[in-house]
Protein backbone atom coordinates (compact mmCIF):
# COMPACT_ATOMS: atom_id res chain seq x y z
CA UNK A 1 0.00 0.00 0.00
CA UNK A 2 2.78 2.37 1.02
CA UNK A 3 4.71 1.70 -2.18
CA UNK A 4 1.61 2.32 -4.23
CA UNK A 5 1.10 5.64 -2.50
CA UNK A 6 4.64 6.65 -3.16
CA UNK A 7 4.34 5.66 -6.79
CA UNK A 8 1.41 7.97 -7.10
CA UNK A 9 3.31 10.77 -5.41
CA UNK A 10 6.28 10.34 -7.75
CA UNK A 11 3.92 10.54 -10.70
CA UNK A 12 2.40 13.71 -9.22
CA UNK A 13 5.85 15.24 -8.73
CA UNK A 14 6.62 14.69 -12.42
CA UNK A 15 3.39 16.29 -13.58
CA UNK A 16 3.84 19.19 -11.15
CA UNK A 17 7.31 19.74 -12.54
CA UNK A 18 5.87 20.16 -16.04
CA UNK A 19 3.31 22.77 -15.14
CA UNK A 20 5.79 24.75 -13.03
CA UNK A 21 8.39 24.63 -15.81
CA UNK A 22 5.82 25.91 -18.25
CA UNK A 23 5.07 28.97 -16.13
CA UNK A 24 8.72 29.65 -15.30
CA UNK A 25 9.94 29.28 -18.90
CA UNK A 26 7.30 31.63 -20.30
CA UNK A 27 8.11 34.25 -17.67
CA UNK A 28 11.88 33.86 -17.56
CA UNK A 29 12.66 33.55 -21.26
CA UNK A 30 11.79 37.15 -22.23
CA UNK A 31 13.63 38.50 -19.19
CA UNK A 32 16.81 36.55 -19.95
CA UNK A 33 16.64 37.19 -23.70
CA UNK A 34 16.27 40.87 -23.00
CA UNK A 35 19.22 40.91 -20.61
CA UNK A 36 21.43 38.86 -22.93
CA UNK A 37 20.54 40.36 -26.30
CA UNK A 38 18.82 43.71 -25.73
CA UNK A 39 20.12 45.33 -22.58
CA UNK A 40 20.53 48.71 -24.34
CA UNK A 41 16.91 48.70 -25.50
CA UNK A 42 15.84 47.80 -21.98
CA UNK A 43 17.75 50.72 -20.46
CA UNK A 44 16.40 53.15 -23.02
CA UNK A 45 12.86 51.99 -22.13
CA UNK A 46 13.72 52.54 -18.48
CA UNK A 47 14.46 56.17 -19.35
CA UNK A 48 11.30 56.62 -21.42
CA UNK A 49 8.85 58.92 -19.55
CA UNK A 50 5.92 57.66 -21.64
CA UNK A 51 6.54 54.13 -20.35
CA UNK A 52 6.75 55.24 -16.72
CA UNK A 53 3.65 57.39 -16.88
CA UNK A 54 1.80 54.49 -18.46
CA UNK A 55 3.01 52.06 -15.77
CA UNK A 56 2.10 54.57 -13.07
CA UNK A 57 -1.33 55.03 -14.57
CA UNK A 58 -1.92 51.27 -14.72
CA UNK A 59 -0.80 50.60 -11.16
CA UNK A 60 -2.71 53.60 -9.82
CA UNK A 61 -5.92 52.86 -11.71
CA UNK A 62 -5.82 49.25 -10.58
CA UNK A 63 -5.37 50.32 -6.94
CA UNK A 64 -8.30 52.69 -7.31
CA UNK A 65 -10.39 49.85 -8.78
CA UNK A 66 -9.36 47.62 -5.86
CA UNK A 67 -10.33 50.40 -3.48
CA UNK A 68 -13.79 50.57 -5.02
CA UNK A 69 -14.03 46.79 -4.80
CA UNK A 70 -13.07 46.91 -1.12
CA UNK A 71 -15.62 49.56 -0.26
CA UNK A 72 -18.53 47.65 -1.80
CA UNK A 73 -17.06 44.15 -1.80
CA UNK A 74 -16.32 43.78 1.92
CA UNK A 75 -19.99 44.23 2.90
CA UNK A 76 -21.11 41.86 0.13
CA UNK A 77 -18.47 39.27 1.08
CA UNK A 78 -19.61 39.47 4.72
CA UNK A 79 -23.26 38.97 3.85
CA UNK A 80 -22.38 36.02 1.60
CA UNK A 81 -20.26 34.51 4.38
CA UNK A 82 -22.78 34.94 7.18
CA UNK A 83 -26.30 34.88 5.82
CA UNK A 84 -28.46 32.32 4.11
CA UNK A 85 -31.13 33.82 1.89
CA UNK A 86 -33.28 33.00 -1.08
CA UNK A 87 -31.30 33.49 -4.27
CA UNK A 88 -27.88 33.36 -2.59
CA UNK A 89 -26.59 30.95 -5.26
CA UNK A 90 -27.71 33.40 -7.89
CA UNK A 91 -25.86 36.27 -6.22
CA UNK A 92 -22.72 34.13 -6.00
CA UNK A 93 -22.98 33.37 -9.71
CA UNK A 94 -23.36 37.06 -10.48
CA UNK A 95 -20.17 37.75 -8.52
CA UNK A 96 -18.33 35.11 -10.56
CA UNK A 97 -19.68 36.21 -13.95
CA UNK A 98 -16.83 38.64 -14.78
CA UNK A 99 -14.41 35.67 -14.51
CA UNK A 100 -16.41 33.63 -17.00
CA UNK A 101 -17.26 36.06 -19.78
CA UNK A 102 -14.63 36.83 -22.46
CA UNK A 103 -13.00 40.15 -21.72
CA UNK A 104 -13.69 41.55 -25.15
CA UNK A 105 -17.37 40.90 -24.43
CA UNK A 106 -16.98 42.64 -21.08
CA UNK A 107 -15.38 45.55 -22.93
CA UNK A 108 -18.31 45.80 -25.34
CA UNK A 109 -20.76 45.69 -22.45
CA UNK A 110 -18.84 48.33 -20.48
CA UNK A 111 -18.63 50.54 -23.53
CA UNK A 112 -22.33 50.18 -24.12
CA UNK A 113 -23.17 51.17 -20.53
CA UNK A 114 -20.52 53.83 -19.88
CA UNK A 115 -20.22 55.70 -23.21
CA UNK A 116 -21.58 59.24 -23.37
CA UNK A 117 -24.99 57.95 -24.42
CA UNK A 118 -24.96 54.80 -22.29
CA UNK A 119 -27.23 53.84 -19.40
CA UNK A 120 -24.79 55.09 -16.74
CA UNK A 121 -22.47 57.18 -18.94
CA UNK A 122 -25.24 59.54 -20.11
CA UNK A 123 -26.65 60.69 -16.73
CA UNK A 124 -23.13 61.03 -15.30
CA UNK A 125 -21.71 62.82 -18.37
CA UNK A 126 -21.96 66.37 -16.89
CA UNK A 127 -19.72 65.42 -13.96
CA UNK A 128 -17.67 62.45 -15.10
CA UNK A 129 -16.53 61.13 -18.46
CA UNK A 130 -15.63 57.49 -18.86
CA UNK A 131 -14.81 57.31 -22.56
CA UNK A 132 -11.07 57.62 -23.22
CA UNK A 133 -10.50 58.78 -19.67
CA UNK A 134 -9.10 57.44 -16.40
CA UNK A 135 -12.56 56.72 -14.89
CA UNK A 136 -13.18 54.41 -17.86
CA UNK A 137 -9.97 52.52 -17.11
CA UNK A 138 -10.94 52.20 -13.45
CA UNK A 139 -14.46 50.87 -14.10
CA UNK A 140 -13.14 48.36 -16.64
CA UNK A 141 -10.51 47.12 -14.20
CA UNK A 142 -13.00 47.11 -11.36
CA UNK A 143 -15.49 45.05 -13.33
CA UNK A 144 -13.05 42.27 -14.22
CA UNK A 145 -11.23 42.23 -10.89
CA UNK A 146 -14.16 42.40 -8.42
CA UNK A 147 -14.60 38.61 -8.09
CA UNK A 148 -10.89 38.24 -7.36
CA UNK A 149 -11.41 40.48 -4.35
CA UNK A 150 -14.83 39.31 -3.17
CA UNK A 151 -14.21 35.55 -3.24
CA UNK A 152 -11.12 35.35 -1.01
CA UNK A 153 -12.57 37.92 1.39
CA UNK A 154 -15.79 35.92 1.68
CA UNK A 155 -13.69 32.84 2.39
CA UNK A 156 -11.83 34.81 5.05
CA UNK A 157 -15.03 35.89 6.79
CA UNK A 158 -16.30 32.31 6.63
CA UNK A 159 -13.15 31.24 8.47
CA UNK A 160 -14.07 33.47 11.42
CA UNK A 161 -16.31 31.53 13.81
CA UNK A 162 -19.48 33.57 14.48
CA UNK A 163 -19.03 32.57 18.14
CA UNK A 164 -16.07 34.97 18.27
CA UNK A 165 -18.25 37.86 17.17
CA UNK A 166 -20.89 36.82 19.70
CA UNK A 167 -18.36 36.74 22.52
CA UNK A 168 -17.05 40.17 21.50
CA UNK A 169 -20.62 41.50 21.59
CA UNK A 170 -21.19 39.96 25.02
CA UNK A 171 -18.06 41.75 26.26
CA UNK A 172 -19.48 45.08 25.22
CA UNK A 173 -18.51 45.51 21.55
CA UNK A 174 -21.05 47.00 19.17
CA UNK A 175 -21.59 45.27 15.81
CA UNK A 176 -19.09 47.65 14.17
CA UNK A 177 -16.50 47.21 16.89
CA UNK A 178 -16.81 43.42 16.82
CA UNK A 179 -16.31 43.63 13.07
CA UNK A 180 -13.15 45.70 13.09
CA UNK A 181 -11.65 44.42 16.34
CA UNK A 182 -12.29 40.71 15.71
CA UNK A 183 -13.52 39.79 12.24
CA UNK A 184 -11.17 41.99 10.21
CA UNK A 185 -7.95 41.22 12.14
CA UNK A 186 -8.61 37.47 12.01
CA UNK A 187 -9.34 37.46 8.29
CA UNK A 188 -6.76 40.08 7.26
CA UNK A 189 -4.66 37.54 5.37
CA UNK A 190 -7.59 36.77 3.13
CA UNK A 191 -8.30 40.47 2.67
CA UNK A 192 -4.69 41.15 1.70
CA UNK A 193 -4.85 38.22 -0.66
CA UNK A 194 -8.02 39.66 -2.21
CA UNK A 195 -6.38 43.05 -2.58
CA UNK A 196 -3.33 41.47 -4.22
CA UNK A 197 -5.33 39.30 -6.60
CA UNK A 198 -7.71 42.07 -7.56
CA UNK A 199 -4.93 44.56 -8.06
CA UNK A 200 -2.91 42.12 -10.18
CA UNK A 201 -5.96 41.27 -12.21
CA UNK A 202 -6.62 44.97 -12.83
CA UNK A 203 -3.09 45.60 -14.07
CA UNK A 204 -3.30 42.72 -16.51
CA UNK A 205 -6.61 43.79 -18.03
CA UNK A 206 -6.40 44.83 -21.67
CA UNK A 207 -9.44 43.96 -23.75
CA UNK A 208 -12.06 45.52 -21.50
CA UNK A 209 -9.90 48.63 -21.02
CA UNK A 210 -9.09 49.44 -24.66
CA UNK A 211 -12.70 49.37 -25.78
CA UNK A 212 -13.73 51.97 -23.23
CA UNK A 213 -10.45 53.89 -22.84
CA UNK A 214 -7.72 53.39 -25.43
CA UNK A 215 -6.29 56.66 -24.16
CA UNK A 216 -4.67 57.46 -21.80
CA UNK A 217 -2.74 54.28 -22.54
CA UNK A 218 -2.42 51.69 -19.82
CA UNK A 219 0.77 49.75 -20.12
CA UNK A 220 -0.88 46.78 -21.87
CA UNK A 221 -2.20 49.14 -24.54
CA UNK A 222 1.24 50.69 -24.85
CA UNK A 223 2.91 47.29 -25.27
CA UNK A 224 0.25 46.29 -27.80
CA UNK A 225 0.74 49.48 -29.80
CA UNK A 226 4.53 49.17 -29.78
CA UNK A 227 4.21 45.54 -30.86
CA UNK A 228 2.07 46.56 -33.83
CA UNK A 229 4.51 49.30 -34.86
CA UNK A 230 7.96 47.96 -33.87
CA UNK A 231 7.37 44.24 -33.35
CA UNK A 232 8.92 42.16 -30.58
CA UNK A 233 12.06 44.29 -30.31
CA UNK A 234 10.04 47.39 -29.51
CA UNK A 235 7.49 45.84 -27.17
CA UNK A 236 9.45 43.26 -25.22
CA UNK A 237 11.57 45.69 -23.17
CA UNK A 238 8.40 47.36 -21.85
CA UNK A 239 6.87 43.96 -21.13
CA UNK A 240 9.99 42.88 -19.24
CA UNK A 241 10.04 46.08 -17.19
CA UNK A 242 6.40 45.61 -16.24
CA UNK A 243 7.03 41.97 -15.40
CA UNK A 244 9.91 42.87 -13.08
CA UNK A 245 7.88 45.56 -11.31
CA UNK A 246 4.92 43.21 -10.85
CA UNK A 247 7.14 40.42 -9.57
CA UNK A 248 8.72 42.82 -7.09
CA UNK A 249 5.38 44.00 -5.79
CA UNK A 250 3.97 40.46 -5.75
CA UNK A 251 6.92 39.11 -3.74
CA UNK A 252 6.79 41.94 -1.20
CA UNK A 253 3.05 41.39 -0.90
CA UNK A 254 3.49 37.70 -0.15
CA UNK A 255 6.09 38.45 2.48
CA UNK A 256 3.69 40.86 4.25
CA UNK A 257 1.01 38.18 4.24
CA UNK A 258 3.24 35.70 6.04
Amino acid sequence: MRIKQEKMLIFFYILSFFILSFIIIVLAEPIFSQILFGLDDFFSVCRDPEVWSSIGLTIGASFLATGVSSLFGIPLAYILARKEFFGKRMVESVVDLPIMIPHMVAGIALFSVFNRHGLIGAPLSPIINFFDAIPGIVVAMQFVSAPFFINPVREGFQSVDPHLENVARSLGASEWKAFYKVTIPISYRYILSGIGMSWGRGISEFAAVILLAYYPMVVSTLIYERFLIYGLAGSRPVAVLLMLICLGIFISFRSIRR
Binding site: D161, H163, L164, N166, V167, A168, R169, S170, L171, G172, A173, S174, E175, K177, K181, V182, P185, I186
Partner: protein, 350 residues
Protein backbone atom coordinates in the same frame (compact mmCIF):
# COMPACT_ATOMS: atom_id res chain seq x y z
CA UNK B 1 -31.82 37.97 38.71
CA UNK B 2 -33.13 36.70 35.41
CA UNK B 3 -36.76 36.30 34.51
CA UNK B 4 -37.75 34.58 31.32
CA UNK B 5 -41.39 35.03 30.46
CA UNK B 6 -43.18 32.94 27.86
CA UNK B 7 -40.30 32.84 25.40
CA UNK B 8 -41.12 31.27 22.02
CA UNK B 9 -38.74 30.94 19.12
CA UNK B 10 -38.53 28.95 15.89
CA UNK B 11 -35.01 28.84 14.50
CA UNK B 12 -33.57 26.34 12.04
CA UNK B 13 -34.48 22.89 13.37
CA UNK B 14 -35.16 24.20 16.89
CA UNK B 15 -38.38 25.36 18.39
CA UNK B 16 -38.74 26.77 21.90
CA UNK B 17 -42.23 26.61 23.36
CA UNK B 18 -43.32 29.04 26.07
CA UNK B 19 -40.25 28.96 28.26
CA UNK B 20 -40.72 30.40 31.73
CA UNK B 21 -37.80 30.52 34.16
CA UNK B 22 -36.69 32.53 37.13
CA UNK B 23 -33.07 32.51 38.22
CA UNK B 24 -32.26 34.09 41.55
CA UNK B 25 -29.43 36.50 42.23
CA UNK B 26 -26.22 34.61 42.92
CA UNK B 27 -27.77 31.27 42.04
CA UNK B 28 -25.96 28.57 40.07
CA UNK B 29 -28.69 27.41 37.74
CA UNK B 30 -28.24 24.53 35.31
CA UNK B 31 -30.36 23.77 32.27
CA UNK B 32 -30.01 20.06 31.68
CA UNK B 33 -31.23 18.41 28.52
CA UNK B 34 -30.31 16.09 25.68
CA UNK B 35 -28.57 17.38 22.55
CA UNK B 36 -30.97 19.21 20.27
CA UNK B 37 -33.32 20.29 23.07
CA UNK B 38 -32.76 23.97 22.25
CA UNK B 39 -30.63 24.81 25.32
CA UNK B 40 -27.99 26.80 23.45
CA UNK B 41 -30.64 28.72 21.54
CA UNK B 42 -32.24 29.76 24.83
CA UNK B 43 -28.87 30.82 26.24
CA UNK B 44 -28.04 32.80 23.09
CA UNK B 45 -31.39 34.54 23.35
CA UNK B 46 -30.67 35.58 26.93
CA UNK B 47 -27.36 36.92 25.63
CA UNK B 48 -29.19 38.80 22.87
CA UNK B 49 -27.63 36.98 19.90
CA UNK B 50 -31.15 36.04 18.80
CA UNK B 51 -34.41 37.84 19.40
CA UNK B 52 -37.36 35.79 20.65
CA UNK B 53 -40.48 35.52 18.46
CA UNK B 54 -42.56 36.11 21.58
CA UNK B 55 -42.00 36.67 25.28
CA UNK B 56 -39.73 38.77 27.46
CA UNK B 57 -36.29 38.54 29.03
CA UNK B 58 -35.69 40.52 32.22
CA UNK B 59 -32.23 40.93 33.70
CA UNK B 60 -31.86 42.60 37.11
CA UNK B 61 -35.37 44.02 37.03
CA UNK B 62 -35.07 45.50 33.55
CA UNK B 63 -36.83 44.32 30.39
CA UNK B 64 -33.85 43.56 28.12
CA UNK B 65 -35.76 41.66 25.41
CA UNK B 66 -34.81 44.09 22.65
CA UNK B 67 -31.42 45.22 23.95
CA UNK B 68 -28.34 44.39 21.87
CA UNK B 69 -25.87 41.98 23.56
CA UNK B 70 -23.35 44.73 24.32
CA UNK B 71 -25.84 46.54 26.55
CA UNK B 72 -26.85 43.51 28.61
CA UNK B 73 -23.71 43.19 30.76
CA UNK B 74 -23.36 39.45 30.37
CA UNK B 75 -20.47 37.02 30.25
CA UNK B 76 -20.60 34.20 27.75
CA UNK B 77 -18.48 31.06 27.57
CA UNK B 78 -18.83 28.62 24.68
CA UNK B 79 -17.95 24.95 24.56
CA UNK B 80 -15.33 25.69 21.87
CA UNK B 81 -13.64 28.36 24.10
CA UNK B 82 -13.90 31.00 21.34
CA UNK B 83 -10.75 32.85 22.32
CA UNK B 84 -9.67 35.59 19.94
CA UNK B 85 -6.82 33.88 18.09
CA UNK B 86 -5.09 37.14 17.17
CA UNK B 87 -4.78 38.32 20.77
CA UNK B 88 -2.59 37.05 23.60
CA UNK B 89 -4.17 35.64 26.78
CA UNK B 90 -3.85 38.94 28.64
CA UNK B 91 -5.37 40.90 25.76
CA UNK B 92 -8.21 38.40 25.49
CA UNK B 93 -8.93 38.90 29.18
CA UNK B 94 -8.73 42.70 28.92
CA UNK B 95 -10.91 42.85 25.81
CA UNK B 96 -14.12 43.57 27.73
CA UNK B 97 -12.44 45.89 30.23
CA UNK B 98 -10.94 47.96 27.41
CA UNK B 99 -14.31 48.28 25.71
CA UNK B 100 -15.86 49.46 28.95
CA UNK B 101 -13.18 52.14 29.26
CA UNK B 102 -11.70 50.78 32.50
CA UNK B 103 -8.76 52.91 33.74
CA UNK B 104 -5.39 51.30 33.10
CA UNK B 105 -4.43 50.60 36.74
CA UNK B 106 -7.82 49.13 37.43
CA UNK B 107 -7.62 46.98 34.32
CA UNK B 108 -4.21 45.67 35.28
CA UNK B 109 -5.30 44.86 38.84
CA UNK B 110 -8.52 43.14 37.78
CA UNK B 111 -6.93 41.04 35.05
CA UNK B 112 -4.05 40.03 37.32
CA UNK B 113 -6.48 39.05 40.08
CA UNK B 114 -8.61 36.87 37.84
CA UNK B 115 -5.57 35.21 36.26
CA UNK B 116 -4.23 34.45 39.72
CA UNK B 117 -7.60 33.10 40.81
CA UNK B 118 -7.66 30.69 37.87
CA UNK B 119 -3.96 29.89 38.02
CA UNK B 120 -3.19 31.13 34.52
CA UNK B 121 -0.87 34.06 35.30
CA UNK B 122 2.07 32.23 33.69
CA UNK B 123 0.17 32.04 30.39
CA UNK B 124 -0.53 35.76 30.08
CA UNK B 125 1.66 36.38 27.01
CA UNK B 126 0.89 33.13 25.20
CA UNK B 127 -1.46 32.93 22.22
CA UNK B 128 -4.59 30.75 22.33
CA UNK B 129 -3.35 28.22 19.77
CA UNK B 130 -0.44 27.30 22.05
CA UNK B 131 -2.70 26.40 25.00
CA UNK B 132 -4.35 23.10 25.96
CA UNK B 133 -8.15 22.81 25.94
CA UNK B 134 -8.38 23.19 29.71
CA UNK B 135 -6.12 26.25 29.70
CA UNK B 136 -8.10 27.83 26.88
CA UNK B 137 -11.35 27.31 28.75
CA UNK B 138 -9.88 28.87 31.89
CA UNK B 139 -8.91 31.93 29.84
CA UNK B 140 -12.43 32.07 28.38
CA UNK B 141 -13.91 31.91 31.88
CA UNK B 142 -11.51 34.60 33.11
CA UNK B 143 -12.39 36.83 30.15
CA UNK B 144 -16.10 36.51 30.95
CA UNK B 145 -15.82 36.84 34.74
CA UNK B 146 -13.39 39.78 34.85
CA UNK B 147 -16.03 42.24 33.61
CA UNK B 148 -18.29 41.36 36.59
CA UNK B 149 -21.32 40.53 34.42
CA UNK B 150 -24.82 40.56 35.89
CA UNK B 151 -25.11 37.01 34.64
CA UNK B 152 -22.55 34.45 33.51
CA UNK B 153 -23.82 32.25 30.68
CA UNK B 154 -21.99 28.96 30.16
CA UNK B 155 -22.76 26.87 27.08
CA UNK B 156 -21.56 23.28 27.68
CA UNK B 157 -18.30 24.71 29.01
CA UNK B 158 -16.75 21.35 29.89
CA UNK B 159 -17.99 19.15 27.06
CA UNK B 160 -14.99 19.50 24.78
CA UNK B 161 -12.50 18.52 27.50
CA UNK B 162 -11.13 15.14 28.54
CA UNK B 163 -12.48 13.50 31.71
CA UNK B 164 -9.67 14.55 34.01
CA UNK B 165 -9.69 18.18 32.88
CA UNK B 166 -13.49 18.15 33.11
CA UNK B 167 -13.30 17.13 36.77
CA UNK B 168 -10.69 19.78 37.56
CA UNK B 169 -12.48 22.57 35.76
CA UNK B 170 -15.82 21.61 37.29
CA UNK B 171 -14.32 22.15 40.73
CA UNK B 172 -12.86 25.40 39.46
CA UNK B 173 -16.30 26.61 38.30
CA UNK B 174 -17.74 25.79 41.70
CA UNK B 175 -14.92 27.62 43.48
CA UNK B 176 -15.19 30.70 41.29
CA UNK B 177 -18.93 30.80 41.81
CA UNK B 178 -18.43 30.67 45.55
CA UNK B 179 -15.83 33.43 45.48
CA UNK B 180 -17.35 35.77 42.90
CA UNK B 181 -21.01 35.01 43.65
CA UNK B 182 -22.06 35.63 40.06
CA UNK B 183 -25.53 34.61 38.93
CA UNK B 184 -24.66 31.72 36.65
CA UNK B 185 -26.70 29.94 34.02
CA UNK B 186 -25.00 26.80 32.82
CA UNK B 187 -26.29 24.63 30.00
CA UNK B 188 -25.26 20.98 29.75
CA UNK B 189 -26.30 17.47 28.79
CA UNK B 190 -24.07 16.00 31.50
CA UNK B 191 -25.93 14.83 34.62
CA UNK B 192 -22.87 14.67 36.84
CA UNK B 193 -22.02 18.26 35.99
CA UNK B 194 -25.57 19.36 36.79
CA UNK B 195 -25.76 17.37 40.00
CA UNK B 196 -22.47 18.67 41.37
CA UNK B 197 -22.72 22.32 40.35
CA UNK B 198 -26.37 23.27 40.42
CA UNK B 199 -28.32 24.99 43.14
CA UNK B 200 -31.32 24.29 40.96
CA UNK B 201 -31.81 22.46 37.69
CA UNK B 202 -34.29 22.91 34.87
CA UNK B 203 -34.71 19.90 32.61
CA UNK B 204 -35.28 20.87 28.99
CA UNK B 205 -36.59 18.47 26.35
CA UNK B 206 -37.79 19.18 22.81
CA UNK B 207 -37.82 22.94 23.36
CA UNK B 208 -39.75 22.81 26.61
CA UNK B 209 -38.84 23.14 30.29
CA UNK B 210 -40.31 19.96 31.72
CA UNK B 211 -39.17 20.13 35.33
CA UNK B 212 -37.47 22.62 37.64
CA UNK B 213 -36.11 21.65 41.02
CA UNK B 214 -33.15 20.92 43.25
CA UNK B 215 -30.70 18.29 42.02
CA UNK B 216 -32.19 15.89 44.59
CA UNK B 217 -35.71 16.43 43.22
CA UNK B 218 -34.66 16.06 39.61
CA UNK B 219 -32.66 12.87 40.09
CA UNK B 220 -34.92 11.18 42.61
CA UNK B 221 -38.36 12.51 41.78
CA UNK B 222 -38.57 12.95 38.02
CA UNK B 223 -42.01 14.03 36.90
CA UNK B 224 -42.39 11.57 34.04
CA UNK B 225 -40.85 8.61 32.30
CA UNK B 226 -38.87 10.66 29.74
CA UNK B 227 -37.20 12.75 32.42
CA UNK B 228 -36.57 9.64 34.51
CA UNK B 229 -34.90 7.87 31.60
CA UNK B 230 -32.80 10.95 30.84
CA UNK B 231 -31.57 11.42 34.41
CA UNK B 232 -30.45 7.81 34.69
CA UNK B 233 -33.37 6.07 36.37
CA UNK B 234 -32.82 2.69 34.77
CA UNK B 235 -35.73 0.92 36.44
CA UNK B 236 -39.02 2.15 35.09
CA UNK B 237 -41.85 -0.27 35.94
CA UNK B 238 -45.60 -0.21 35.49
CA UNK B 239 -48.06 -1.24 38.18
CA UNK B 240 -51.22 -0.54 40.05
CA UNK B 241 -51.64 0.83 43.55
CA UNK B 242 -53.85 -1.64 45.42
CA UNK B 243 -54.16 0.37 48.58
CA UNK B 244 -52.42 3.14 50.50
CA UNK B 245 -51.91 2.88 54.22
CA UNK B 246 -50.44 5.87 56.11
CA UNK B 247 -48.53 7.10 53.06
CA UNK B 248 -47.16 3.69 52.12
CA UNK B 249 -48.59 2.58 48.78
CA UNK B 250 -48.77 -1.11 47.99
CA UNK B 251 -48.10 -1.49 44.28
CA UNK B 252 -48.94 -4.62 42.34
CA UNK B 253 -46.42 -5.23 39.57
CA UNK B 254 -48.18 -8.36 38.31
CA UNK B 255 -46.18 -11.10 39.97
CA UNK B 256 -44.85 -9.13 42.91
CA UNK B 257 -45.82 -6.32 45.24
CA UNK B 258 -43.77 -3.24 46.09
CA UNK B 259 -43.97 -0.80 48.95
CA UNK B 260 -43.45 2.83 48.15
CA UNK B 261 -43.70 6.12 50.01
CA UNK B 262 -46.44 7.90 48.10
CA UNK B 263 -49.62 9.87 48.64
CA UNK B 264 -51.38 8.39 45.62
CA UNK B 265 -54.47 6.29 46.10
CA UNK B 266 -55.58 3.39 43.97
CA UNK B 267 -54.82 3.56 40.25
CA UNK B 268 -52.30 2.80 37.54
CA UNK B 269 -48.83 4.20 38.13
CA UNK B 270 -45.26 4.25 36.90
CA UNK B 271 -42.57 3.29 39.36
CA UNK B 272 -39.01 4.65 39.23
CA UNK B 273 -36.06 3.13 41.10
CA UNK B 274 -32.49 4.33 40.61
CA UNK B 275 -30.09 1.42 40.08
CA UNK B 276 -27.66 2.73 42.72
CA UNK B 277 -30.44 2.50 45.35
CA UNK B 278 -30.72 -1.26 44.92
CA UNK B 279 -28.77 -3.53 47.24
CA UNK B 280 -27.75 -6.92 45.84
CA UNK B 281 -27.28 -9.93 48.12
CA UNK B 282 -27.18 -13.67 47.72
CA UNK B 283 -29.49 -14.40 50.63
CA UNK B 284 -32.69 -12.71 51.71
CA UNK B 285 -31.52 -9.98 54.10
CA UNK B 286 -33.17 -8.75 57.24
CA UNK B 287 -32.98 -5.00 56.95
CA UNK B 288 -35.05 -1.84 56.86
CA UNK B 289 -35.53 -2.29 53.12
CA UNK B 290 -39.21 -3.00 52.55
CA UNK B 291 -38.81 -4.38 49.06
CA UNK B 292 -37.09 -7.64 48.24
CA UNK B 293 -37.21 -9.06 44.74
CA UNK B 294 -35.64 -12.34 43.69
CA UNK B 295 -34.05 -12.59 40.25
CA UNK B 296 -31.42 -14.28 38.15
CA UNK B 297 -28.51 -12.34 36.65
CA UNK B 298 -28.81 -12.31 32.84
CA UNK B 299 -26.14 -9.76 31.95
CA UNK B 300 -23.10 -8.20 33.62
CA UNK B 301 -21.44 -5.15 32.07
CA UNK B 302 -18.30 -3.56 33.52
CA UNK B 303 -18.05 0.25 33.74
CA UNK B 304 -14.76 1.05 35.42
CA UNK B 305 -15.25 0.42 39.14
CA UNK B 306 -18.94 -0.43 38.71
CA UNK B 307 -20.72 -3.50 37.42
CA UNK B 308 -24.07 -3.06 35.77
CA UNK B 309 -26.30 -6.05 36.57
CA UNK B 310 -29.39 -6.97 34.62
CA UNK B 311 -31.82 -9.37 36.30
CA UNK B 312 -34.44 -11.57 34.65
CA UNK B 313 -37.21 -9.77 36.60
CA UNK B 314 -36.36 -6.61 34.62
CA UNK B 315 -34.41 -4.80 37.34
CA UNK B 316 -31.08 -3.10 36.73
CA UNK B 317 -28.69 -2.58 39.62
CA UNK B 318 -25.14 -1.35 40.20
CA UNK B 319 -22.60 -3.04 42.44
CA UNK B 320 -18.96 -2.20 42.80
CA UNK B 321 -16.51 -4.49 41.06
CA UNK B 322 -15.15 -5.46 44.47
CA UNK B 323 -18.58 -6.47 45.82
CA UNK B 324 -19.29 -8.45 42.69
CA UNK B 325 -16.06 -10.40 43.27
CA UNK B 326 -16.72 -10.82 47.02
CA UNK B 327 -20.22 -12.11 46.37
CA UNK B 328 -18.95 -14.24 43.48
CA UNK B 329 -21.64 -12.90 41.17
CA UNK B 330 -21.96 -14.66 37.83
CA UNK B 331 -24.46 -14.85 35.02
CA UNK B 332 -27.26 -17.29 35.87
CA UNK B 333 -26.82 -16.78 39.61
CA UNK B 334 -29.89 -16.14 41.75
CA UNK B 335 -29.77 -12.96 43.88
CA UNK B 336 -31.99 -10.74 45.98
CA UNK B 337 -32.50 -7.12 45.10
CA UNK B 338 -33.61 -5.00 48.04
CA UNK B 339 -34.51 -1.34 48.22
CA UNK B 340 -36.27 0.99 50.60
CA UNK B 341 -39.80 2.24 50.15
CA UNK B 342 -38.31 5.76 50.10
CA UNK B 343 -36.19 4.84 47.07
CA UNK B 344 -39.28 4.16 45.01
CA UNK B 345 -40.69 7.18 43.23
CA UNK B 346 -44.24 6.85 41.96
CA UNK B 347 -46.00 8.93 39.29
CA UNK B 348 -49.49 8.60 37.88
CA UNK B 349 -49.61 6.87 34.52
CA UNK B 350 -50.41 9.43 31.80
Amino acid sequence: MIKIKKICKDWKEFSLKEINLEIKKGEYFVILGPTGAGKTLLLEMIAGFHLPDEGEIWINGKDMTNYPPEDRNIGFVYQDYSLFPHLSVIRNIRFGLELKGTPKDDMERKSNEIMKLLGISHLSHRYPDTLSGGEQQKVAIARAVVTRPSVLLLDEPLSALDRRTQNLLREELKRIHQIEGLTTLHVTHDQTEAMILADRIAVMMDGEIVQVGTPHDIFNKPLNEDIAAFVGVENILEGEIKRNRDGIAIIDLGDIELNAVSDYGEGEVKVFVRPEDILISKKMQESSARNNMRGRIVKMTYFGALVHLQLDNGLIAFVTKLSAEDLGLEIGEEVYASFKATSVHVVKKE
